[in-house]
Symmetry: C2
Subunit: 413 residues, 2 copies
């Protein structure tokens, strides 16, 4: 029997009525002849409310206890979803990560999946049940409760899809698919019908919040087709697949804005081998993710300067690491700029479309937006700008890169 994984995010579970709506969708998929596995997030703003509760009690909560606290949000959701399916006359069973056997490493708040057991899910599916799995959470080899980072319920869904050999992982959300830009910021944005894993990955990594980038990595690695769609309508959304069927001649598929960045500047680094490696390995050990290394200017003498961007939420930890290493390594000063954003154009073969970069820089210049830094890869071109300029830069690039015009063409066809 084919198997479908459906993942419902917090906005799709915010009221009893929405939970029933999600339950009906799962039941319909079952009645259409599929095994159905649901992955659910915490209801609405639950995770933020729990975090705020933690911060009322403790300025810097131990991460193990934070995971103990936050995983209750998904546990509430799985129980309520099972009740909703039961109320509709169908059989369901909820499973925590511990009950399912979703094992991660022991890095609390940022754990990575190590293995997922099929046994319990297979048994429950064979018994005719819809299986409801708590997203976001895992359990380490010692039975400690872990979480995989904000938004990681998507990862639970695609990883489960891979292990179970699902036909499709349906990611239900409050928007009806992936757009050429965030429609809240760019009204001219249009829905993308098909997108490749690689482009989706870069869009997620550079700020498209519709899907978690690690979830896309799993889907890509195990070739799980992903369908990003609205929980409120039956309209089809965006298919994320290996090779989109057409439209690949369109170089730029979307533009994204990542607002929660900070740039760390290290001034006067001794120009001796291994210093940079020491800094980055210490940041990595402290679980600070370095987004882009934005400058690496050797002054020719004994000292160098270096800058890199990080998630703004890691600022305190990055500052602590850098100040400790400054003292050890003789770095002259550490500066952190917390008021930057990154605007990116994402598409296939951008390097071979040489005009894309030029078009971007020209458009930003004409809009009088300063570019602090540029980074490029095969499928993404990013510019660091002032945070206040972010939304304007996004709209400006969306228009300059011809994404607005797709609407016009389709409308006049």
């Amino acid at each position: 029997m084919p198997l479908v994984v459906q993942k419902f995010g917090g906005t799709s579970l915010v009221t009893a009525e929405r939970i029933h709506r999600a339950a009906r969708r799962a039941i319909r998929a079952k009645l259409e002849g599929n095994h159905v596995v649901l992955v659910v997030s915490a209801m609405g703003e639950t995770t933020d409310e729990l975090l705020s509760l933690a911060l009322q009690v403790c300025y810097d909560p131990p991460k193990r206890e934070l995971d103990m606290l936050l995983t209750t949000g998904e546990q509430v959701s799985i129980a309520l979803m099972a009740m909703a399916i039961d109320a509709a006359g169908h059989e369901a069973i909820s499973l925590t990560a511990a009950q399912l056997g979703l094992v991660t490493d022991s890095t609390h708040t940022r754990a990575r999946i190590q293995r997922i057991s099929r046994d319990r899910i297979d048994r429950e599916l064979a018994g005719g049940k819809i299986v409801i799995v708590a997203g976001f959470q895992g359990i380490d080899a010692g039975g400690e409760i872990t979480t995989m980072g904000r938004g990681a319920s998507d990862t639970t869904a695609t990883a489960l899809s891979a292990v179970l050999g699902a036909e499709v992982a349906e990611i239900y959300t409050d928007v009806d698919g992936v757009y050429t830009a965030d429609p809240r910021l760019v009204p001219q944005a249009t829905k993308i019908d098909e997108i490749s894993y690689d482009v989706m990955l870069e869009m997620a990594a550079t700020g498209a919040s519709v899907m978690h980038s690690r979830a896309v990595e799993f889907a890509k690695k195990f070739k799980v087709p992903v369908h990003v769609r609205s929980s409120l309508t039956d309209a089809s959304g965006t298919m994320v697949v290996t090779e989109p069927s057409g439209m690949e001649s369109v170089a730029v598929r979307g533009v994204t804005l990542k607002e929660d960045l900070a740039v760390v500047s290290l001034i006067g680094i001794p120009n001796t081998p291994g210093v940079a490696a020491g800094i980055f390995s210490e940041l990595s050990r402290c679980h600070v993710l370095v987004d882009d290394i934005v400058q690496n200017i050797h002054t020719g003498g004994k000292l160098a300067n270096m800058g890199f961007s990080i998630n703004a939420t890691d600022t305190a930890e990055a500052r602590a690491v850098c100040e400790r290493l400054s003292a050890q390594l003789g770095i002259e000063s550490v500066g952190i700029d917390e008021s930057v954003s990154k605007v990116s154009a994402v598409g296939v073969g951008l390097r071979t479309h040489a005009t894309t970069a030029a078009t971007m820089f020209d458009a930003l210049a004409r809009a009088e937006i300063n570019i602090d830094n540029i980074s490029t890869s095969e499928i993404v071109i990013s510019c660091i700008v002032r945070r206040t300029d972010g939304p304007k830069a996004l709209r400006c690039l969306h228009s300059a890169l011809g994404l607005d015009r797709i609407v016009e063409t389709e409308g006049s066809a």
Copy 2:
């Protein structure tokens, strides 16, 4: 090193400030040279809020999923308590029932403890940590999450105390001990300094809500001294022990009121062997607890009538069982009266104090309170009265049985 178990109820955890207060108490016990194990309930009204959420989604939630849902309340509390202790500079670790190894049978919402593993707690205590255990919850042999009934965090505390050989189980609550009657209903009630397990057990069973009766059973069975006391003051509360040191000449130690009762009447039962046994075994199978069998009148002919009291919350289930059996066994009719309460006098050797019963009936008669039924045991005399008469009956008995006068005597001494 001596070991102390401290249990904090929902009212002692209702705000961040209260959680910190409880944390300070645990730290103080540790600094005084004890190993400390905390057992915590869900914060404030959390369990009721979760129940209401369930009822929004499902009229009759599956009990397994109800347990999945409700256990999140205690999981939130253990995490926050660990954070509060950490914030105060001491080491703590929270443990769910699954992590601890508190194994129950598989009767969801009313599970009973089968065994408790010491291994994990001993290891954490040896590592210098304060151990925080989620009350109310267990795990069955198959890894399913169970709960042990409302108020069962007390049971977790006394059962753990027994297994760990605790010096004392301290039950922290919002009142400063066990009273001769509920002080909210009887202003003349006085605090009891020492009470025997047996009397405490009957007081809990007949309505004193300060401690869960199964918790007292555990304490009695394993001779764990229990100290019921206020989380808001340092005053000592009520010690529950095998043999109170003095005062045992006082026959009646307290009066209680149990308001949430219903009386089921079975009219016209075929007078053949095994019918009553069949009814009670079916009620038991459906987990309806029969409080007292209040009437059993054989009419001398082929038919008999029978009445018994149950918890009002079981009314729907009891009605379903009785109506099903009526059809099968040829019982003429089933009536349920949901507007009764039970008022009880509890003390040692009440049967040998023949005057106690007479005093009670006389006092209720003079207050024009009808007694629907009477039941007596070695240490309790109970009367079923109209629910509207309950509080008045309680005050009347408290006074008639000389409990008011203890205050006057002490005041004039």
